[in-house]
């Protein structure tokens, strides 16, 4: 029986999430034995034509060309999974959504007329139907492995949607916000990283984006109590997942109430 075909696609991104597939050093050859890596340009010259049973999509949509290309990717893909904060929430590129992109272009490029870009950076789900989303900046390679495995066995991936706090408790990390007064986004951030930052004595900075139904009012109150200024709060919410709806709404509200 022919193996299902896998394609890996890149839009505006740093390549880190697709690199996670190559970072599965112990499992890579086994994966290649279970699924036909048919179109993965970062790893192979060979491009086997679609349709593909599974597509992994990295990056956000930031150019008119990419807005068209994602439509073709969808047409060729039976099952489409976004990998990482850019594809899932617009990523760090979505910082442009609060700014004037023409001005940005002139800051970076001497001859802005050569640059063809959209005013916004948007997640894949704004353009096409997405079957599953993997969070993270970068994704967890273990979650990637679990997701590909689940696909191969036709079951739902076991990806928790609780907060980073649960992971801190599970690894016996003392709460950095309660014990040391370090501002931490853990209570409103989805788990997945393994609660890395608190284990390294810093507050969570939100790589995995908002958890389901985050209590934004409470976290904002807590950060204010710790002496965090309003501009600092806005910046903390606007990084790699700033355009995810719950955090976007919270940072917009904070900005609107600035004097």
């Amino acid at each position: 029986m022919a193996l299902p075909k896998l394609a890996v696609w890149k839009f505006a991104s740093c390549d880190g999430c697709q690199l996670s597939l190559l970072d599965l050093e112990d499992e890579l050859l086994a994966i290649a034995g279970s699924i036909h890596i048919a179109n993965f340009v970062e790893a192979s010259r060979e491009v086997v034509p679609g349709p593909y049973q599974l597509s992994l999509v990295e990056g956000s949509i930031t150019t008119p060309h990419d807005a068209e290309r994602i439509q073709h990717v969808r047409e060729e893909s039976e099952f489409l999974i976004t990998i990482g904060a850019c594809a899932t929430a617009g990523g760090i590129q979505s910082l442009r959504n609060w700014k004037d992109t023409k001005e940005f272009t002139s800051i970076v490029y001497a001859t802005p007329a050569f640059i063809d870009t959209l005013e916004t950076s948007t997640p894949i789900s704004d353009h096409v139907a997405v079957d599953f989303e993997l969070r993270g900046c970068p994704i967890s390679k273990h979650q990637l492995l679990e997701t590909v495995n689940a696909f191969l066995h036709k079951r739902r991936p076991n990806i928790p949607n609780y907060s980073v706090c649960v992971e801190c408790k599970a690894r016996f990390t003392t709460c950095v916000m309660v014990a040391q007064g370090i501002p931490c986004l853990g209570p409103v951030t989805q788990a997945g990283c393994g609660a890395l930052c608190p284990a390294y004595n810093r507050g969570c900075y939100g790589c995995f984006g908002p958890m389901e139904s985050p209590n934004m009012e409470s976290i904002i109150h807590q950060w204010r109590e710790l002496g965090v200024s309003e501009p600092e709060l806005i910046r903390a919410l606007r990084t790699y997942n700033g355009y995810a709806p719950d955090w976007r709404a919270a940072s917009d509200e904070l900005e609107d109430s600035l004097p």
Partner: protein, 429 residues
Amino acid sequence: MSKRTIDVSYLARVEGEGSLNVKLDGDLITDLEFGIFEPPRFFEAFLRGRHLTEAPDITARICGICPVAYQTSSVNAMEDALGVEVTPGIDALRRLLYCGEWIESHGLHVFLLHAPDFLGYESAIHMAKDYPAEVELGLRLKKVGNDIATLVGGREIHPVNVRVGGFYRAPTARELRGMLPDLEWGLAAAEQTVELVAGFEFPALEREYTFVSLSHPDEYPMAKGRIVSNTGLDLAVSEYNNYFEERHVERSNALHSVLKDGGDYHVGPMARFNLNFEQLTPRAKAAAEAIGLTPPVTNPFRSIAVRSIELVFAYEEAIRIVEGYEPPPEPSVELPPRAATGHGASEAPRGLLYHRYELDAAGLITNAQIVPPTSQNQLTIEADLVDLIEANLDLSDEDLTWRCEQAIRNYDPCISCATHFLDLRLDRG
């Protein structure tokens, strides 16, 4: 005369999106374009208005393959601006983390991205069918690099432990020494890699390059040093803009860097090796001499051998650091804010990475400039291709195209980095 086209619309086995388009009229190249179609990414603009402490995390997101390089150049620049110096223990940990990234990135490139060209495979996965032991060696060798980055940095991609002034948490000596058996294995595996790669057939191409890299009196360049060249440049990092400039051309979403007094230059492993051979660690130097690889190396296809030597170096250096490690008294130093401009550079796996920031009195970034290695190498890559194509016109379109791709991969171009950056088309219809 017949017209030919070499056209690679989406270059494989590089990080990011690039292309090559070459038009030939008989033996004459009428057009050669190493293009970058990766979407523009506006990091310098995003950094404006951000606090100086945010730069290592934000700039890491420029590149998933070499985030440590971005973090290191940015912390160097910020510490320069604030006039602070880190303690020797912090300095050693930075170098160890950087060894992890060099090992991971060079391991990836040598085994998964470049070796398949020399052995005639589409990918390492295809190669693994005939060379399973070699591919498995490469994967494990690369993995140890990721393990170093994970232990020191928290994770291999976008490490969380790096901050301006040092680290959030210094690992214990016991944690680091636990890595020694893997590092000793890796050092032997890297020496094996050098022998393996030395047996490859290197296409003929010799070029005269201006090599540019960092250089430091005490060590092979990595996280600090002055900028030097084989043409007599010797400057402080803060003088970078006096000697180099970025130009914006239509075919590319990356900026091209040139020497102000004219011409292209070459950064990366070959530049470092040729300019700093005497600083290599003993086993790295011995491995190079054993395969007859000594400066000047001017055939860019031999870059894979140089990268393998740097793998030996990085493992040897990591062992030295781990064996001598005492945790620093404090994981980071104090940062007294002041309005200032700071410059920072480090040697990314692909070459010199320069950052410059202007800060206001509150510590907010008012201006940022980032010059990645691939945009510095872009003109050199095109110049290599011109010579390569002219010398290989007898090859079939298919073979010539593949040879051109292999030549581009000599530089391990990171296109994601350079867009602030590529589509291969060879047109000889």
